[in-house]
C-alpha cells in the first residue's frame, strides 16, 4: 500500500468525524493517484464518498458509517496546472477550491467560464453539483463544462474522458454525477478573459413577481442576472425581490486606488460573516419581520456598484451553506418551465401560509445546458430557498410541491435534496436508468456511496 494513503487499515487515519449525529463518516486522506486507488480498494461495506468541501449538511457529501475521501497534497496544489491560451482553457487540480483556482487564474487575467456554488467547494464538487451562478444569456450549451477529465473509477482504473460536446462521456459521467461515479483528479475547464476581479452591479427593488421576471428576462447580453427574493411578501408583493445584474468591470471603470490591484482576488466573506450573527433570531414572526425590513429598506435602484467577483458569484451559496450548518435549515431548489412562472409566487404563498420563514431565496433564469442524467435540464426559472425545518407539516407541503413541479415538467434538484420521495426521481429524471447503467459500468462493486444515494436508492 502506498505510504501516502491513510486508510482504515493504517494507524495514520487523520480525521474521524463520527462523534455526533449527522457525522459525515470516517475520514481518509489521499495525496496521490495511488492513494486514491488504495482508498477505493479499502472502501468499507457502506462505501466511500468524496469530500467536496461543501460542509457536512448535504446528504450528497455525507456517508454515515462509511468513509469520506479527502483529496490533499498534489491533488489540490498547484490549483492551476497549465493554461492553454489558444483554447482558452486550463487544467485544474480537482481537489483545489474554486477560490484558490480563481485566485491563480485572475492574476493572469482569466476567470472560470462558469462560476457558482460556494467558493470553498472543490472544482470537482462544483461539477458534481452542476453548480451554476447567476444566468448569463451569452452562455452556450456547453459553456463552463469540462473539455477533458481524468478520474479514477470504482475499480481503481485511471480513465480520461473527453468533454466538450453535450453528450460526451466526461459530461455524462461527472457533471451532476453527485460524486457517485469516481474520483476526479484533474479537469480541463474553459476560461473567459477578464481585466479585473470586480463586478459592476446594478440592482433594482421590484415590488411584484412580474417585475422580477421582467427584469431577469430582458437583461442585455453578456450580463449576469439573478434576483434575491423576499419570501415574506404577501398579496401583490408575493415574489417581490431585488433584481441584480452584473458584468466584469474594465480597469478604467475602477477607482484609481483599486486599479493597480485590479486582478487581485478578494475573498467572499458572506459565510464567515453569517457565522458571527445569530441566524435563528427570535421566533418566526421576528424573523419574518426582519426579512421584510431587509427588502423595504433596500435602495429602490443602485447603479454601477463595485462588488468583488467572489461575493457576486458565491455570496448567496455561502449564506445558504452557513444556514444549513448553523441553523439546520434545508435547501429546496426547483426549476419550473418558463411558461409556468406563476408557480414561483404560488410556492412562496404556500410556505407563507405554513408560517415557514424562507432564508436566502434566489431566483435565476435556468437556461438549458448540457449536463449529466441527474442534472437539471429544464429550460425555466430556478428558485433556491432555505427553509426552517422546525415547522410541522413542512414535509407534506414539500412532497405535495414535488408532485406539482413534476406534473408541470419541472425538476427538483438532487444535489441539495435532503427529503425527496424515491418515486419522484423517476418522474423528474427520465435518464436515471441510463445513469445507473453507466454507474454499474464504472463502479461495478458500488464502492462509491453517500447518504443521498442510500436514501434515494440511486
Amino acid at each position: 500500500m502506498p505510504s501516502d494513503t491513510r486508510t482504515s487499515n493504517t494507524a495514520t487515519r487523520e480525521a474521524r468525524t463520527g462523534s455526533h449525529p449527522g457525522a459525515s463518516g470516517s475520514g481518509t486522506h489521499a495525496r496521490t493517484l495511488a492513494g486514491i486507488q488504495a482508498a477505493i480498494h479499502a472502501a468499507p461495506a457502506r462505501g466511500l464518498t468524496v469530500d467536496f468541501n461543501l460542509g457536512s449538511s448535504l446528504d450528497m457529501c455525507t456517508n454515515n458509517g462509511g468513509d469520506v475521501l479527502t483529496l490533499a497534497g498534489a491533488l489540490t496544489a498547484p490549483a492551476v496546472t497549465s493554461i492553454d491560451w489558444q483554447k482558452q482553457s486550463a487544467w485544474l487540480a480537482a481537489g483545489a477550491s474554486i477560490a484558490d483556482v480563481s485566485r491563480e487564474l485572475l492574476v493572469q487575467g482569466w476567470a472560470l467560464a462558469t462560476l457558482g456554488g460556494t467558493a470553498s467547494s472543490t472544482v470537482a464538487g462544483a461539477l458534481a453539483l452542476d453548480a451554476r451562478g447567476p444566468h448569463n444569456s451569452e452562455d452556450s450549451q456547453t459553456s463552463g463544462l469540462p473539455r477533458m477529465i481524468e478520474f479514477v473509477d470504482g475499480v481503481g482504473n485511471t480513465r480520461q474522458f473527453v468533454g466538450g460536446a453535450a453528450d460526451s462521456p466526461a459530461i455524462t459521467a461527472i457533471v451532476a454525477g453527485l460524486g457517485l461515479t469516481g474520483v476526479c483528479t484533474e479537469i480541463e475547464l474553459p476560461l473567459r478573459p477578464v481585466s479585473t476581479g470586480w463586478m459592476l452591479v446594478d440592482s433594482r427593488r421590484c415590488e411584484t413577481s412580474d417585475e422580477v421576471f421582467a427584469q431577469l428576462s430582458g437583461g442585455p447580453t453578456g450580463v449576469y442576472t439573478m434576483a434575491r427574493i423576499d419570501p415574506t411578501g404577501r398579496g401583490t408583493g408575493l415574489g417581490r425581490g431585488i433584481a441584480v445584474s452584473g458584468r466584469f468591470a474594465k480597469v478604467a471603470e475602477l477607482p484609481e486606488i483599486r486599479q493597480p490591484n485590479a486582478l487581485e482576488y478578494v475573498d467572499c466573506a458572506a459565510g464567515r460573516n453569517a457565522s458571527r450573527v445569530p441566524l435563528r433570531v427570535g421566533n418566526a414572526a421576528t424573523r419574518r419581520a426582519l426579512k421584510g425590513i431587509t427588502h423595504r429598506t433596500a435602495a429602490a435602484q443602485r447603479r454601477a456598484e463595485l462588488i468583488p467577483m467572489a461575493s457576486f458569484f458565491h455570496a448567496d451559496c455561502e449564506l445558504r451553506a452557513a444556514g444549513r450548518e448553523l441553523a439546520n435549515t434545508i435547501t429546496y431548489e426547483f426549476v419550473v418551465p418558463v411558461d409556468q412562472s406563476e408557480m414561483i409566487p404560488r410556492f412562496l404563498d404556500r410556505i407563507g401560509h405554513l408560517k415557514v420563514v424562507g432564508q436566502a431565496a434566489t431566483l435565476t433564469r435556468h437556461a438549458p445546458r448540457a449536463t449529466g442524467p441527474l442534472g437539471i435540464t429544464t429550460d425555466g426559472w430556478k428558485l433556491t430557498i432555505d427553509l426552517d425545518t422546525d415547522v410541522p407539516g413542512l414535509g407534506r407541503v414539500l412532497d405535495d410541491w414535488d408532485e406539482k413541479v413534476a406534473a408541470a415538467g419541472g425538476q427538483v434538484s438532487l444535489a441539495t435534496d435532503s427529503r425527496m420521495r424515491i418515486d419522484m426521481i423517476a418522474a423528474m429524471y427520465p435518464d436515471l436508468a441510463k445513469w445507473q447503467e453507466l454507474r454499474r459500468y464504472i463502479d461495478p462493486q458500488g464502492h462509491f456511496s453517500s447518504n443521498l444515494a442510500r436514501r434515494l436508492s440511486l
Binding site: 463520527g18 462523534s19 455526533h20 449525529p21 449527522g22 457525522a23 463518516g25 470516517s26 457502506r46 446528504d59 456517508n63 454515515n64 458509517g65 462509511g66 439546520n328 434545508i330 425545518t389 422546525d390 413542512l394 414535509g395 407534506r396 414539500l398 412532497d399 435534496d417 435532503s418 427529503r419 420521495r421 447518504n451 442510500r454 436514501r455
Partner: protein, 250 residues
C-alpha cells in the same frame, strides 16, 4: 436515515407489548415510515404488538422473537434487522407485567424471572442496538426509564427497579451510540406518572397517557440538532399540567 424534515423510514421496537413504545411508533408514523421491526420475548405480546403497529398504517411490520436469557440469540435478532436495512430509530422499554401474570400459572410471575426479562434482556438488547447504530453511523436510540426516587407502595417495584436501572445505565449506552454518529434520548418518567407502573385504577388516573409521553419525546427524536448526542427528557415536563390530572378529592 431521518430525512431533512424529520421523516423516519424504519423503526426497531424492543418491547412490542409496551404501550409507551407503541405510542411512540404511532407518533412516528408518517409518509416515509415503511418498515417497523418488533422484538419481544413473549410470542403473544409480539403478535399483538405487531398487529397494533400494522393498524397504525405501517406497510411492513417484521416480528422478531428472541428467547429470554439468551444473549447470543438476542444479538442475532438485532443484527438480522440491521442487515435488512438501515434502522433510523430504536425504541426500547421494559414491558410491564402482563395482564395474565396474576391468574395464569404459566405466565411469568416470578420476580427474578421478570427482572431478567425486563432488565437483563433489555440492557443486553440496548447494548447490541447501540453497537449496531455505531456500525451503521447514524440512528436515534430512545430509552424509557424512571428518574430514580423513592416510590410509593402501590407501584410495581420490580418494573420500577428495571426502569430506574435503565436510567442509570443510559449514559453508558449513549456513549457507545455516540461513538459513531448516533444519538440517545432517555425519557426519564416520574414513576408515579408512568402508566405502566401500576394496574391500580386510582393511581393510573394521575399518570400520563402513553401518547402524551410519546408526544413529548418524538420532537426530540426527529430534531435536526446535531451537537447533543445524549438527551434526558424528564417527564412530566410541566408540574401544572401534571397537577391538573390529579383529582381534587385525593
Amino acid at each position: 436515515m431521518i430525512d431533512g424534515v424529520g421523516n423516519v423510514s424504519s423503526v426497531l421496537v424492543v418491547g412490542a407489548a409496551n404501550p409507551l413504545c407503541l405510542a411512540t411508533v404511532d407518533r412516528l408514523v408518517g409518509p416515509r415510515l415503511s418498515r417497523v421491526y418488533a422484538l419481544d420475548s413473549n410470542p403473544d405480546s409480539l403478535s399483538r404488538g405487531a398487529q397494533r403497529i400494522a393498524d397504525f398504517g405501517v406497510p411492513n411490520v417484521s416480528q422478531l422473537w428472541y428467547p429470554s436469557r439468551d444473549p447470543v440469540a438476542q444479538r442475532a435478532a438485532v443484527t438480522s434487522a440491521f442487515e435488512e436495512s438501515d434502522v433510523d430509530v430504536i425504541v426500547i422499554g421494559p414491558g410491564p407485567r402482563t395482564d395474565s401474570a396474576a391468574t395464569d400459572a404459566t405466565a411469568i410471575e416470578d420476580n427474578a424471572e421478570y427482572l431478567e426479562r425486563a432488565l437483563i434482556d433489555i440492557v443486553n438488547l440496548a447494548g447490541q442496538c447501540a453497537t449496531s447504530i455505531a456500525q451503521q453511523g447514524h440512528g436515534v436510540m430512545t430509552l424509557f426509564s424512571h428518574s430514580p426516587r423513592k416510590i410509593p407502595a402501590n407501584l410495581d417495584h420490580d418494573y420500577c427497579a428495571a426502569m430506574a436501572s435503565l436510567h442509570i445505565l443510559a449514559p453508558s449506552i449513549a456513549q457507545v451510540t455516540a461513538s459513531n454518529g448516533g444519538k440517545t434520548i432517555c425519557a426519564a418518567i416520574d414513576p408515579v406518572r408512568d402508566p405502566n407502573s401500576t394496574r391500580d385504577a386510582g393511581v393510573r388516573s394521575s399518570a400520563m397517557s402513553p401518547l402524551e409521553v410519546a408526544s413529548e419525546i418524538v420532537p426530540a427524536i426527529v430534531a435536526r440538532r446535531k451537537r447533543r448526542t445524549f438527551e434526558v427528557i424528564s417527564l412530566p415536563r410541566s408540574l401544572r399540567k401534571s397537577a391538573l390530572r390529579i383529582r381534587p378529592g385525593r
